[in-house]
């Protein structure tokens, strides 16, 4: 006797209860707090804020906790919340030149005005697992010194003064800022939309795409002009008061790549740029983004665009991990109706094949 | 001069009124020639009919450039009301308008002056909303096309008199074209670019 499957609603409820328990884990172990996530898993929070396109450490920490540490799931939670928020307007462009830097390195010059600042970095740590971290480790207090008052101009601005690097395009006053979360994307897309897409893009995808350019698939001879990480002010031009009011400060990482020069009969050769920007401290992300941004400028700079990283439609259509994970994972939804249709067709084709190749059919054909 | 505080109100219930109005317009567009009623009441200004006002509140916003004919814009109350309640920017160039509001059909400009869309993006075309005298009495028209089971009749008193002859540009332009929405008080009829209209006299 066959009975049709029912009871899906209860199954869903029970599955979600089970999930809540799995998320909490062994209840004799202390529950992790949002502060703990924000303070001690700070780079995870940074990534969720960047790819979630929402600067809110507390919500990002909540999303990480709710997602059991699955960062793409956490990014998805933040994005879905962000989509419901009202828009008041667009901030003034942030001035990263005035950043209160915590870290700043350049690979192109040995010394730079304001100095190279290593700051908090994994660089030059020896990757040896440290058992003391598992046993209530208390770090030594950080070394301190008199705060420097020297300005820290951007390395690309220094190169720009001599005309050695293309100038950074300036937005026209009052020009609207593209937003691919509010308008459907059309190709070819302008650089503002490309950069927005890359800023939201999956770190792993951008890393692989950037890496591929280094290995020769769209090579663009990059040098790290500068990576800087620190705090910048965000300002909003309020029409009622007639001037820009500060909204607060955010932490950003910026990477400016200095790439192979170009030139023509009419233009002196100069270096070109690739740009990366992310919330929090995200060096891998911003460096990869800068490589891919430069690769995507191939057509604009008169280069042949044959490699995947130079293919705007390919990169922009596949960089978003929330879209990608949804569509890959939707394959686990039932497909038995279309599968049945495919099965029917395959059986028919196999039967025809068998009939055509049966011994008596061959005999008939011979007669 | 009317101040903002004196402007007639928008929908009492923004969410549900917009939904109900949209369904009337959607049904009108899906079933060309059928007369749909707009139920929710909103204030209106100048020569704007209440049906037109409800459609404006439902579909217009900052993202929809709006073109008004001379008679519609002769009262500053209309532009003020539209600006305050919808935020839609009023433009002088009809060829970039998402919507056009026509109060004086007799002075309707050539339809080619509106956005017709492109073959790649035929949706980027103006929806022209024309206020007419009546959508249940007047001359008879026979309508055919998608959304219509064979043929349907429409009785209407409209200006310009040759509106549907002019609309024939849709036949050669397709998939580009003009979509019309006709409003008489609270009655709405839509004539999308796929509809073929023949006059049957009065």
């Amino acid at each position: 006797m066959y009975v049709a499957v029912k009871g899906g609603e209860r199954a869903i409820e029970n599955a979600h209860r089970l999930l809540a328990n799995a998320r909490r884990g062994d209840q004799s172990v202390a529950e992790v707090s949002l502060d703990q996530i924000s303070e001690q898993l700070g780079l995870a929070v940074d990534r969720v804020m960047s790819e979630g396109s929402l600067y809110d450490r507390e919500l990002a920490a909540l999303a990480i906790k709710q997602a059991r540490g699955d960062l793409i799931e956490a990014i998805f939670l933040v994005r879905a919340f962000r989509a419901t928020l009202p828009r008041f307007g667009t901030s003034e462009p942030v001035n990263t030149g005035a950043m209160r830097v915590q870290r700043r390195v350049s690979a192109t010059f040995k010394d730079i005005p304001g100095g190279q600042i290593l700051g908090p970095t994994f660089d030059y740590t020896h990757r040896l697992l440290d058992p003391s971290l598992g046993q209530g480790f208390v770090p030594e207090a950080p070394a301190t010194a008199e705060a420097s008052t020297a300005p820290t101009p951007r390395v690309t601005d220094i190169l720009g003064r001599d005309g050695l690097i293309e100038s950074s395009p300036q937005a026209e006053d009052g020009a609207s800022v593209g937003d691919l979360t509010r308008e459907p994307l059309n190709f070819p897309a302008d650089r503002d939309l490309r950069l927005q897409n890359l800023a939201r893009g999956d770190e792993g995808f951008l890393l692989a795409m950037g890496y591929s350019t280094q290995r020769g698939y769209g090579r663009n001879h990059p040098f790290v002009g500068e990576i800087r990480f620190g705090e910048v002010e965000v300002e909003f031009f309020a029409e009622d008061v007639g001037f820009a009011v500060p909204l607060g400060s955010i932490e950003l990482t910026e990477c400016q790549m200095v790439n192979q020069f170009k030139g023509s009969a009419t233009e002196a050769p100069c270096f070109t740029r690739g740009y990366g920007l992310a919330f929090g401290q995200s060096e891998r992300k911003t460096m990869s983004m800068a490589l891919v941004d430069r690769a995507l400028r191939a057509r604009e700079l008169g280069e042949e665009a044959l490699a995947p990283a130079q293919d705007e439609e390919f990169v922009m259509s596949h960089s978003d991990n929330v879209q990608a994970t949804g569509f890959v994972e939707h394959l686990k939804l039932p497909h038995y109706v279309d599968f049945q249709s495919e099965l029917g067709l395959l059986r028919k084709l196999r039967k025809e094949f068998a009939d055509a190749n049966a011994p008596d059919a061959m005999k008939e054909a011979a007669e | 001069m009317t101040t903002i505080a004196e402007l007639p109100p928008g929908f009492v219930d923004k969410v549900l009124s917009a939904q109900s109005t949209f369904r009337s317009v959607m049904d009108a567009m899906a079933r060309p020639g059928s007369v749909q009623r707009i139920v929710p009441m909103a204030g209106t200004a100048g020569r704007m009919m209440r049906g037109t006002a409800a459609i404006a509140l439902t579909l217009f916003d900052h993202d929809t450039p709006l073109w008004l004919d001379a008679r519609m814009s002769e009262s500053s109350d209309v532009t003020k009301w539209l600006k305050f309640h919808t935020g839609a920017p009023v433009v002088q160039d009809a060829s970039i308008a998402s919507f056009a509001l026509i109060s004086d059909g007799a002075a309707l400009p050539s339809l080619e002056r509106f956005a017709l869309g492109t073959n790649e993006y035929p949706d980027r075309s103006t929806t022209v909303i024309i206020q007419v005298d009546s959508l249940d009495t007047g001359r008879s028209f026979e309508l055919r096309g998608p959304g219509i089971d064979g043929v349907t009749m429409l009785q209407a008193s409209i200006k310009p008199f040759d509106l549907f002859e002019r609309l024939r540009i849709n036949e050669t332009l397709f998939p580009r074209g003009i979509d019309l929405v006709l409003v008489a008080d609270d009655a709405v009829v839509a004539i999308p670019r796929t509809t073929r209209v023949e006059s049957k006299g009065s």
Binding site: Y2, G8, E9, N14, D56, L59, Q340 | M26, A30
Partner: protein, 296 residues
């Protein structure tokens, strides 16, 4: 913390306006895919976000909503979407095709004929019928602009040369109003004829791909074919084991590991309606009632 507060039918009004404008243009240009600024929804892309956004933009408190996946009201994703709207819009829901004013579907068109007061909303994964021939949007857009569909016919004809048949069993392309080639979403080709000249409005939403398209009521929808190889809807040749229907699309149920198979209606509402009307198949059983404590 910024505590979330959500609008009727979840979407904010600005988003609804944008989607509503896209729907109107979609109806005015049958079969043409209108780009729209699809929002991130609280369910994954690929799980019905396009259909959900279209439904949210049209749904009102008077509507009666039915949601099906694979023809069934009881598949988990159908339940999840139905609950979403019951919660965010407070609308009445039903499993009876006849009683619904809005039906959201994934992969099937109900067996019961639709009527003029209904809207069928399809969830669409890949809206572009030419996508598997040409991955670039810039190219496919040009092909649609010029109605240049030769490539599609070549592909279908290559199937015939290789297999003796058009080897497309679902998402079988159609031509709408003699102009646009359109993807009907991954419905089995058995359902294609139901799209033609339907009294109901059909709306298609693709959230991840950010496209909305439509078939107005009473519109000609033709499955692509050739004179010498006409379109044939496929159906397994057996009556439903539960309701004995001979005209419905059937699910194949594996009953044991010794090759045992049975075939039952994929449209559960249709099947239950027939059983209630006294039609019985070879294996019909009383519908299973959900018991407290049962699990799936």
């Amino acid at each position: 913390m910024n505590a979330p507060a959500y609008n009727f039918a979840y979407l904010d009004e600005q988003t609804k306006r944008m989607i509503r404008r896209a729907i109107l243009k979609a109806i005015a240009i049958p079969g043409y895919q209108v780009p729209f600024a699809s929002r991130e929804m609280p369910m994954p892309y690929g799980w019905g976000t396009g259909g959900v956004q279209v439904t949210a933009a049209i749904l009102g408190p008077q509507d009666v909503l039915k949601v099906i996946d694979q023809g069934s009201d009881d598949t988990t994703n159908a339940i999840s979407i139905r609950k979403f709207f019951a919660k965010t819009a407070g609308v009445a829901t039903t499993t009876a095709t006849e009683d619904a004013t809005v039906i959201q579907t994934r992969h099937r068109i109900p067996e019961t004929s639709l009527h003029a007061n209904q809207v069928l909303v399809y969830q669409v994964p890949i809206p572009e019928p030419l996508r598997f021939l040409e991955p670039r949007e810039t190219e496919t857009r040009r092909m649609h602009a010029l109605a240049e569909y030769g490539l599609m016919h070549v592909k279908l004809y290559e199937d015939i040369a290789r297999f003796g048949h058009i080897a497309t069993a679902y998402a079988y392309p159609v031509k709408v109003n003699a102009r646009y080639v359109m993807d009907p979403s991954p419905t089995p080709k058995f359902d294609n004829p139901k799209m033609d000249n339907s009294p109901a409005l059909q709306l298609f939403g693709a959230g991840r791909e950010k496209r909305i398209y439509a078939i107005p009521p009473y519109t000609k929808v033709v499955s692509l074919d050739f004179e010498d190889h006409p379109f044939e809807p496929y159906r397994f040749n057996a009556p439903c084991a539960l309701c004995a229907a001979e005209d419905s699309y059937l699910d194949e149920i594996v009953t044991d590991d010794k090759g045992g198979r049975m075939f039952v209606c994929s449209d559960t509402d249709y099947c239950e309606g027939r059983q209630a009307a006294g039609h019985h198949g070879s294996l019909s059983a009383a519908p299973y009632k959900e018991k407290a404590g049962s699990h799936g």
